[in-house]
Symmetry: C2
Subunit: 155 residues, 2 copies
């Protein structure tokens, strides 16, 4: 079990788009209980089953358990997921010593773009690229499990 320490941001413009290669993600949820979220994900050619615990009060840290599975193994689970499957492209972008993950959403979440950076400690500093917008860390509306049930287009 790992601790996941992340900060999440909106994105100002499209200037990040040539900085990395987009990979298609499809994901759904078997539980969207914030204390034990169960996520089914296909990321490119890989499958992952991920369980996330409750976040700390500041929203920065969550316990995370993950198992890699083949796409064939994990695909049948989508039929058991809660309504609301998320599709997005994820682009990993190296900025200084950190990797930003920029998620461009499709379908019912079209128009939403989020950037996340993973940190080794809650106080760790990192370089802020020009295209990074308002911080939304801890805002539960931007959890993918929330977006699956309450898509951006309905806000």
């Amino acid at each position: 079990m790992n601790k996941e320490i992340e900060r999440k941001f909106l994105v100002k413009d499209d200037s990040w788009k040539n900085l990395g290669e987009a990979v298609h993600y499809k994901q759904g949820y078997l539980s969207n209980d914030p204390e034990r979220t169960v996520r089914v994900r296909i990321a490119g050619e890989k499958g992952f089953l991920t369980v996330k615990g409750k976040s700390t009060n500041d929203g920065l840290t969550r316990l995370e358990w993950e198992k890699e599975l083949s796409v064939e193994e994990i695909s049948p689970l989508f039929s058991l997921c809660l309504p609301g499957i998320i599709e997005k492209n994820r682009t990993k972008i190296q900025i200084g010593s950190h990797t930003f993950e920029v998620d461009e959403f499709f379908g019912q979440n079209d128009g939403l773009i989020l950037a996340e950076v993973e940190l080794r400690s809650e106080s760790e500093s990192f370089e802020i690229p020009d295209w990074l917008g308002e911080e939304v860390t801890g805002d539960k509306r931007y959890y993918n499990s929330y977006l699956a049930q309450h898509p951006f287009s309905t806000w």
Copy 2:
């Protein structure tokens, strides 16, 4: 994904006890939503993560997805489970061409003994041993996911 076809019974007496070897089971739930139950289980020396779909109206059939994991891999997930961990001994008993699984519960479900038989079709017949009691197939109170939240001792 398999279809699980099962019939479930109470047990009349202890005469089944010398018919097989008991294996200790510990299990908890990441979701007890009947349409997407997510179960964390250690059975003897093996770990399993299992997702079960909604049962049919007669309670006989459920979609089931299962992944075997090592005990080391699965153990951390118990800390994220819903309150209510189930502990029981399971004894597999061959009766004619069928295997009965007899579950003797401990802790908050002490005193409850259930027997299940898995069938290849909903109409398949099977030999009924003397110790088999009242059928409780489809009675959701006897789902382990229900017993985890509403233990037998509180009925």
